[in-house]
Symmetry: C2
Subunit: 233 residues, 2 copies
């Protein structure tokens, strides 16, 4: 009889931790493993299923995604829930505490935006770009701007509301929006952060703008990037 290796033994006991009372170190114990924070990011705007997580996280393997979901669930950061019929699919949803991790995602993203090595021309997920609007929004620049902006990015739709120098972003239908962007998340990023003109993006078939064009133009100016760090030779 073959002796089965007990690889799963001591699972929760002595996993690689920082033995440190510092809150930051404990935070890393919770969400410091590879992919963990990006899984949280993808769930920040609402629950998702396994396959959607996998396709929105370029390069994660099913193996690792399973482990991260288990770990985050064990830590109380997310729960797995079954959607009511007829959807009847299993989804992963952040707990209240899990949603409270958004400032971490934002602080890290804002800081990293100064990096000289940052390449914004890579793949970006719909949730990422919408979260980046929350992160980079400048309320001073948004004074007097009002309106509802819809986004159709692949299969996902979002609604963004501007008014009184404030902004709200959430999943939602685009019906009734003053302007609707339809296309890919990278193209939207190119328009907002890269200064790409709508016409060029439309010609490539990457992004279309329907509705209040003036509002759309103004919208792209509300998210200033911090100055880059100069690259040493």
């Amino acid at each position: 009889m073959k002796l089965k290796k007990i690889t799963t033994a001591k699972s929760g006991s002595s996993r690689r931790r920082y033995d440190d009372a510092c809150g930051t170190a404990h935070g890393l114990d919770l969400i410091g493993e590879r992919w963990a924070l990006l899984v949280m990011r993808e769930l920040m705007l609402g629950p998702k299923r396994f396959s959607d997580l996998r396709s929105d996280l370029p390069g994660i393997s099913a193996n690792v995604l399973t482990q991260r979901l288990e770990g985050l669930e064990a830590s109380g950061l997310l729960v797995r829930r079954r959607l009511p019929p007829p959807a009847s699919a299993q989804v992963y949803e952040l707990t209240e505490w899990g949603y409270e991790a958004e400032p971490i995602v934002q602080t890290l993203g804002r800081w990293a935006a100064r990096s000289p090595d940052h390449d914004p021309s890579m793949q970006i997920s719909p949730v990422s770009i919408m979260l980046s609007f929350r992160t980079m929004f400048d309320s001073e620049l948004a004074r007097g701007v009002e309106g509802r902006i819809g986004f159709r990015l692949g299969a996902e739709t979002f609604l963004l509301e501007l008014g009184g120098g404030r902004m709200q972003v959430a999943r939602g239908e685009t019906a009734g929006a003053d302007v609707v962007f339809t296309g890919s998340a990278p193209a939207l990023a190119a328009a907002v952060y890269g200064g790409a003109p709508f016409d060029a993006l439309a010609r490539e078939g990457a992004l279309t703008v329907e509705g209040d064009r003036k509002l759309a133009e103004r919208f792209t100016t509300l998210f200033p990037l911090p100055p880059k760090v100069e690259k040493r030779a």
Copy 2:
């Protein structure tokens, strides 16, 4: 002649990265590796030498510390500098951009303080506890509190200044402080975050308080912890 293994080949080429334009993902490429953020934390209050980093980071191996220092230097987050004689020792110092990562450390620490699994009775470094004061300081609670507080934690000394509802923390001599704490960082944590009475800590030889005792007592009340998340069964 011994053939040297070219272990540094393809060093910068295809290290494990997230191929993602999201700023958060890029931030993880910069400081997401194991130990990286804790190395930054230890340097937040000023330069340190290799051995001090090693002894203040419980459990890091020299091997990994070397790699992290190399990586952080390559990313432009720290520089290695040689102290002028007679000290003439090599130290690692954060760049301006490196120091700007403090909000990340703080946001993560504040968030993790809600964890039901957090064990504050472990080892904590002098820099960690001083940084935690910056993180958890409540300016409302500090209205009307003025004074200079010194800390002698092992070989390191710090000076904290309170006044006008604000607080400053830095390395510095304790001479002229209104009250001076002398002892271990965990004991100081027990007093401020665990509510341990000074008498008990003094009896254990863990912490002594010299000077304005009233100010010392008041000081311990300025850093409220967020409510813990209830632990699921």
